[in-house]
């Protein structure tokens, strides 16, 4: 019987990691694009407090007027709600956005360098009228701003 070439057997039959070829696997952990690990458990948290605790531990966030959280008062389409987070706080490290009315509140987190203005605009899904929460980490401290958004057509489950 002819011996089949390794390549003909099919990758599913051979765990590549056992061949020492783990570095070739397009696994999430290895091919991470950013130097920080993607915060998996925070994105899977189903309660706002749990998501925040997962990201920031038990650090208290100080409400700050120095964060400008811009979003429509009324979102006609909950699938596409424009949000901008901006701050004049110095030394910004991260800016995080959550929605307390979503099944999974954590929406996005930005890792800011001094090369960019601490201002990011994205569009997010809101499942129902609820609050957007912005958390800014600056010089080791945590700051928070909240904005209520009314949603006329919810955007998470279609």
């Amino acid at each position: 019987m002819q011996r089949r070439h390794l390549l003909e057997i099919g990758f599913s039959a051979i765990p590549l990691a056992t061949l020492g070829l783990g570095a070739l696997l397009p696994t999430r952990a290895r091919s991470a694009v950013t130097p920080h690990a993607w915060p998996e458990s925070a994105f899977h948290a189903e309660a706002v407090d749990a998501a925040i605790a997962d990201l920031f531990g038990d650090r208290a966030a100080e409400d700050s007027m120095r964060i400008t959280l811009t979003a429509p008062d009324i979102a006609e389409n909950g699938r596409v709600v424009p949000v901008e987070v901006e701050t004049d706080l110095p030394g910004v490290e991260t800016m995080t956005i959550l929605c307390d009315g979503n099944p999974y509140p954590l929406l996005a987190r930005a890792h800011v360098t001094p090369a960019v203005a601490p201002r990011v605009s994205i569009r997010v899904k809101m499942g129902q009228s609820s609050n957007l929460i912005a958390l800014v980490e600056a010089e080791g401290k945590l700051y928070r701003a909240t904005r209520a958004v009314k949603v006329t057509a919810g955007g998470c489950g279609g």
Binding site: R28, S31, N102, A108, H111, V116, I122, V124, G155
Partner: protein, 105 residues
Amino acid sequence: MSREYGRLRAKAKDGGISVRALIRHPMETGSRKDPATDTAIPRHYIQEVVCEHNGEVVLSLDWGWGVSANPYLAFHIQQGQTGDVVLIRWIDDRGETGSLEAKVA
């Protein structure tokens, strides 16, 4: 850059660069049902986004499936000029990657 990945505009502004991107990606939450088959459309979303200016990372983002489909992203690079290169690259939860690159106008 390839239209299949989206659009990227980078404009010199106020001594810096105004960047606006529209990335093509379904960003499915996993909760939507296909009306034709009544089965759930699988979750599929960009997880990590990295933005570079002349080869240096200036901003990176962690996204979840709560970011809208065909995600929009805008930010401002503090110092820059026409001719500079802005690159945005990403990887999704299936390990699929994409990128957009533009010269600052």
